[in-house]
């Protein structure tokens, strides 16, 4: 979450503050933990506001909303941005209604209008069939939740300097939702993190052809995803579902087999860098979202590709 200071006319340098309730994050690759505030400064924050409070241990949207509203009233930011995670998307409206300001959900493009100094917030509507650009001219802060995976994380610059301040949470704030039981998502990695994905659709023909898709995924070092009809048919479980009501993915490589390309599915693959689509139907909508178009029997091509990669 971040904001800029009030006097942000386009010429003045905007001030970026990040707020966090975490004292450290796990770096999976290096298997170490790094202090968050320093990490955020290295990533570009001018200031980091940190609050350590037991009431912030769980992502409780009401508690966090009260906290952010208090900070907003004290610091009067121009803009507040949130990641459009499940938590971000329930937290931000709680702030918006209490501050009586505007909020744009799930932005995929952000820009500053040089003339007006307003934040231009572009987001998909109608399941991705329409894009809308939205501004919040008279209310402050301007707020948006931003779709994860669209913007690359900035490279760390350890030489950057920034201020780290500790703030507190008002004593009257209390969580009202009690967690009875938690079920973390599957033991394996979420396909949302995968760098390579093989995504299968109904065009693979039958459940037994999943075996070929899995072999291709193994050969590519990829995870396996699928479209919604396959989950509904019981061929794969819900964590594999890619699309508007499933997982949004942004892999470097996505190989799509037998997927026709319903708009709700395409909404989940917009972040993929390279899409190779294989489908028998030359007119399949998936080809509109692909970088490479292979018209043919997807199982035959998959098997041939497994051989070619060996």
């Amino acid at each position: 979450m971040s904001w800029t200071s009030p006097s942000s006319c386009s010429r003045a340098r905007a001030r970026l503050s990040l707020i966090t309730s975490h004292s450290c994050i796990q770096d999976r690759r290096r298997r170490s933990s790094r202090p968050v505030p320093r990490h955020l400064v290295a990533a570009g924050a001018d200031e980091v506001l940190v609050c350590r409070d037991a009431r912030l241990a769980r992502p409780d949207a009401e508690v966090f909303a009260h906290w952010i509203c208090d900070l907003a009233r004290a610091f009067r930011p121009e803009v507040i941005l949130y990641g459009a995670t499940a938590f971000g998307r329930e937290l931000a409206p709680g702030v918006a209604v209490r501050l009586k300001t505007g909020l744009t959900a799930d932005c995929t493009v952000l820009a500053m209008d040089p003339e007006t100094g307003l934040l231009q917030q572009t987001r998909p509507a109608f399941g991705g069939n329409l894009m809308a650009t939205i501004v919040c001219p008279a209310h402050r802060p301007q707020m948006a939740t931003v779709r994860p995976g669209i913007f690359a994380a900035p490279a760390a610059d350890e030489t950057r300097a920034g201020e780290i301040r500790y703030v507190t949470l008002d004593a009257s704030v209390a969580p009202r939702v009690r967690v009875v039981d938690a079920e973390p998502v599957g033991a394996g990695r979420s396909i949302a993190d995968a760098e390579r994905l093989v995504v299968v659709g109904r065009g693979i023909g039958s459940k037994k052809n999943l075996a070929v898709a899995r072999r291709l995924a193994d050969a590519l070092g990829a995870e396996l995803g699928c479209t919604r009809p396959l989950v509904e048919a019981g061929w794969l479980e819900y964590p594999h579902q890619v699309g508007q009501t499933g997982v949004s993915v942004a892999p470097k490589l996505l190989v799509s087999l037998g997927v026709s390309g319903a708009i709700q599915h395409l909404a989940g693959i917009g972040g993929a860098q390279t899409v190779i689509a294989v489908n028998e139907d030359a007119e399949a909508p998936i080809f509109g979202a692909a970088h490479y178009k292979v018209v043919g029997d997807c199982i035959e091509v998959a098997e041939a590709l497994i051989d070619a990669l060996a």
Binding site: A86, G94, T101, A182, K293
Partner: protein
Amino acid sequence: MHIVVCVKAVPSTTEVKMDPETHTIVRDGRASVINPFDATALEVALAIKDARSAAGERTRVSVMSMGIPDTERLLRDCIARGADDALLLSDRAFAGADTLATTYALSCGISQLDEAVDLIVCGKMAVDGDTAQIGPELAGAFEMPCITDVQEQPVVCGRILWARRACDGGRETVEVDLPAVITVAKDAAQLRMPSIPGVLAAEAAPVAVKTAADVDADTSRTGLAGSPTQVVRSFVPERSQEAVAIEGSPAEQAAALAALIEEGCR
């Protein structure tokens, strides 16, 4: 117990065509439908009502919508399926509302009901707007706790509601004291069809229609006037690239793909 279900009328399809000349959305003239997520919300409320009446406890399910006069037909359909009463907030002053202004209008409608509300059920999002903001904003407006993205039929026992919800970490089961707001995922339940007596009785049932004045709404906070955000541009996203066709026999195609993939690795 009094449950309010907020429903929105949405186009029957989300396939959008832009008129190339006017840059406005071409309406296909098909009738609006209940937002599928809100249909689930209604079923969730009706199922709570069924469970409570099996235990001899009275529950009233009210449906509410902010919309054009035609929305009355959809509210009547909700009554056919088992809702006890319906309220349509309809006024030119409500038109053009963003989520903040919509939340304000709905909150005025809810505040004006003749019975205190114990539970507000909303669909997680609308299939046209996709914002998923109304539920949490309504909760904030009433300072009620909000449970979002409920995945299965929740259970109410006394003044406690249990629900299983999706969150970033996976799923969790939570409990909260009423009054509260919950938003539901589309597949959490399937809206029951009405019976013959339900349809016939709904034909005669009253659907209250109220204006901004009727619900004491300040029109500077409703509709376009009350919306902090405005759309400055809408467009149908263009395909930014034409896919490169890979021709040949499956073996030839595979060889070309393997080469591309290897290259991409570097």
